[in-house]
């Protein structure tokens, strides 16, 4: 059974979407993610869509759902790596992706998540942690 890998990275879960998401895969991802957030108690989720050359309304809905569910579980979601052509198309499509925070890459996404939780104890991430997931 194919699954999209969800990797723990400090206080964050990193999801790197590499393939054309078909419906079943997307649903499984949503479930896996919710379970892992609860299991690990992380407060951040980074979804890396660098490999996606298409984001249609289905993927948009999936990202919005993940963001909402994560928020209920006390985790903030940041979508990173959106390609310019995808961004231009989404603007044309009129898909606002409201409620979804975005950053240019994983590093900036992590920074955004850190800044979102000033009260959390500062975890010094080793340089290797970020490069291993990149």
């Amino acid at each position: 059974m194919d699954r999209v890998p969800v990797l723990p990275l400090g206080d964050v879960l990193l999801v790197s979407i590499q393939v054309d998401l078909e419906d079943q895969l997307a649903l499984r991802l949503q479930e896996d993610l919710a379970e892992k957030i609860v299991a690990t108690g992380v407060h951040g989720v980074i979804i890396d869509i660098t490999a996606l050359d298409i984001v249609d309304s289905f993927v948009g809905r999936m990202l919005a759902t993940i963001a909402s569910v994560s928020r209920v579980l006390d985790a903030e979601t940041v979508v990173v790596g959106m390609r310019p052509a995808v961004a231009i198309t989404l603007v044309e499509l009129g898909l606002p992706l409201r409620g979804i925070r975005t950053a240019l890459n994983v590093e900036l996404g992590l920074r955004m998540l850190r800044e979102a939780r000033p009260e959390a104890p500062v975890e010094e991430l080793e340089p290797d942690d970020t490069t291993a997931a990149a």
Binding site: E22, D23, I54, S57, E92
Partner: protein
């Protein structure tokens, strides 16, 4: 009516299950690359095709897609056609409004596709089915 002459073979993909939506995307992408559309135009085209394919599956109960390179005498383009024998669309105005969908969700299928494509034609009959045809021209 969309004015376009065929300039390549018709390629067909049945739309019966989820993975067919992915196949439609791949098919459209192949033809787009052959036709040398810019990256942005390719992305818009494939995204529109994805929306329409999903519509065919979810609202139309399944059907098929046809992709063909066309020309208007001066420029090349790609024509995508989606046909189903589903319930049809009773209220066209609402169907083309953002946010409309009897299936729930954002339902941006038709209005979104129309924005992304250069031309879009739709014919539907309640109880019989729907055919959507759209063209994207090279710049």
């Amino acid at each position: 009516m969309i004015q376009a002459e065929p300039s390549g073979p018709v390629r067909r993909q049945d739309i019966v299950g989820d993975d067919d939506v992915v196949r439609v995307r791949q098919l459209v992408r192949t033809v787009a690359v052959e036709t040398k559309l810019t990256l942005v135009d390719q992305t818009k085209l494939v995204t529109a095709a994805s929306e329409l394919a999903r519509n065919t599956l979810v609202h139309g109960g399944g059907g098929y897609a046809e992709v063909q390179q066309v020309t208007n005498g001066r420029r090349l383009g790609i024509r995508i056609m989606f046909a189903d024998t589903g319930p049809g669309i009773p209220d066209l105005d609402r169907a083309f409004t953002d946010g409309y969908s009897t299936g729930g969700g954002l339902g941006l299928g038709l209005s979104g596709a129309r924005r992304l494509m250069d031309e879009l034609d739709l014919s539907t009959e309640v109880g019989k089915g729907t055919v959507v045809t759209a063209v994207k021209w090279e710049r």
